[in-house]
Point group: C2
Chain length 332, copies 2
């Protein structure tokens, strides 16, 4: 293996000079620099970054904990993370946790064992910082997308409550009064906030909350399909359904059509996320657009600030209602 000593020997200088010629070219004489560069070239030398990292105690890797890469929205967020990380010279260690807390803990420990410098957690915070990291070892960490109010680290999120309220108001403005909601997993703060927004809109319009119109899902198309099945089977089914993710909305629309009903003629459907497929579904989906890549980019920027010991502020990214063809005037 060609290492810095070989290069030093070739160039007839010390290893320190080689190191400096490469890292701080200004402080070596032009002649020496030239000699070193030639030797580097001749030896085909590439620094062993493992050694560099070991010495500097920085890995320049970031751990990303994602519940499921298979989710289109997360895939986009990761895309943003990836890009931003690369621009700053960081690598991305991807961890598909499948919601498994043990796995999250295990992966977060990549930081304490020095295989990564920090963590971006795309799921609501779990208690691992309490049990798994003793001695008050606060991990350099950012919580993005799904965020709990009392997260013990900086966060980037959407104003989910306001966004959900907007969608619901949009449906109410179309004349709907029986509005179903296909939610996320029960314990998700995302779901909590969005349900708040949904209720805000209802009560502002004087519509009483009907618990039977709330169905839990897990953000997958299948769960949307199943939940919609429950809703259309109600004695008084909803005339509109707000789904907490586009993937569930797509599943829901499929189920509604299987029941012989049409979207939006019989039931309006709204989603959340604005994934790439949202405008190619039949009908194209009305939804809340989230800046997925921006989530990733901002999370990286914040984490690096933390790593550099700088001050960071929590961030709320903007959303917007995208009105397409899956929602229409209520006919009843």
């Amino acid at each position: 293996m060609t290492n810095i000593r070989k290069v030093a020997e070739l160039a007839g200088v010390s290893v320190a000079t080689v190191s400096r010629a490469l890292k701080l070219p200004d402080i070596v004489s032009p002649a020496t620099r030239e000699k070193v560069l030639k030797a580097v070239d001749q030896a085909g030398y590439q620094p062993n970054l493992m050694a560099v990292q070991f010495r500097s105690q920085r890995t320049y890797n970031l751990v990303v904990l994602v519940p499921t890469i298979a989710n289109t929205f997360f895939a986009q967020v990761i895309s943003g993370i990836q890009e931003a990380a690369q621009e700053r010279g960081y690598g991305v260690l991807l961890c598909n946790t499948l919601g498994n807390e043990a796995m999250e803990t295990q992966y977060a420990s990549l930081v304490t064992t020095r295989q990564a410098d920090g963590v971006i957690q795309l799921r609501a915070f779990n208690p691992f910082s309490e049990n798994a990291f003793p001695a008050g070892a606060a991990l350099p960490m950012i919580n993005a997308c799904e965020v709990m109010g009392d997260a013990p680290c900086p966060t980037v999120k959407l104003d989910n409550r306001a966004a959900a309220r907007e969608v619901t108001e949009h449906l109410i403005a179309l004349g709907h009064r029986r509005i179903g909601m296909i939610k996320g997993p029960r314990r998700s703060p995302l779901t909590f906030d969005r349900q708040q927004g949904y209720q805000d809109a209802l009560s502002a319009a004087g519509i009483p909350l009907d618990e039977r119109l709330l169905c839990p899902g897990d953000f997958t198309p299948l769960s949307g399909y199943q939940a919609a099945g429950t809703l259309v089977a109600l004695p008084e089914p909803p005339t509109a359904i707000f789904c907490e993710s586009d993937e569930m909305a797509i599943g829901a629309m499929s189920r509604i059509k299987d029941a012989g009903l049409r979207v939006p003629d019989d039931i309006s459907v709204a989603g959340f996320d604005d994934i790439a497929f949202a405008c190619y579904s039949d009908p194209p989906l009305t939804t809340i657009a989230q800046p997925a890549e921006a989530f990733g980019r901002e999370a990286v920027a914040m984490l690096i600030k933390v790593l550099e010991g700088r001050q960071v502020n929590n961030l709320v990214l903007p959303h917007s209602l995208v009105s397409r063809k899956s929602t229409a005037q209520c006919r009843y």
Copy 2:
């Protein structure tokens, strides 16, 4: 930082003994082992894996080069990679190359700079091994999914030609004779193989090839949408379209409906990949199912074999035609 020396001091033994007590517990006396473990516990010691890796010259990280994570199919493959890697104690460094060869090269060099042990490339091989890695430094590398015939490394792929032939035969069996094809990027070997299969089926059925029915795309829904626009605008539009990816098929169906035509009544559409959305599209998509996770798992297994210096054989994974509602008897 609590390091092995602190632990040694606490336990009243040498660092070598601590190291051995943890890695080769059998060769230290039970009493010593106990002492060491107690000291480890007391000090809250976690080995600095950066140091371990540095010493052993193994990072236990694998680089994965993926054209776009945003593609649902790749997301699934990565899921499989991720799982298999984790089971074997490897981490996954994800690189979204966006088809950029410079970026692929840059990331592959993580191996030569010792930040990763090997590479899984999900795109057809590019010439970087020739120009970027001099001195015949053959990277430990696996090429999966999109594979070229002369790949200079082990490969896992599908029999794309046979699969494309099956879909096409399925359409022919339904009475279609004007069958369009929405292809992948021009230079992709995937596209080449699948077009071969398409042509195999046509010529077996005595149907002449009509070049106008072939449209290039780039695997995104948008490109499928656009290509379908070209096809329906033909003086004699096809009665069926075979798309090289489900994402393009979904885009194509959207365009067909925008043209006031119905799927499958007016035009049958078949896809490729069997992504999660395939059964929730309207109508549910007839497609070729690929074992996406298995691609990932096998690629990891093969790469680790390579890293261990063992013999590996190229692999061809099975596919199957999934017949849903987007293809139907030709009415013309």
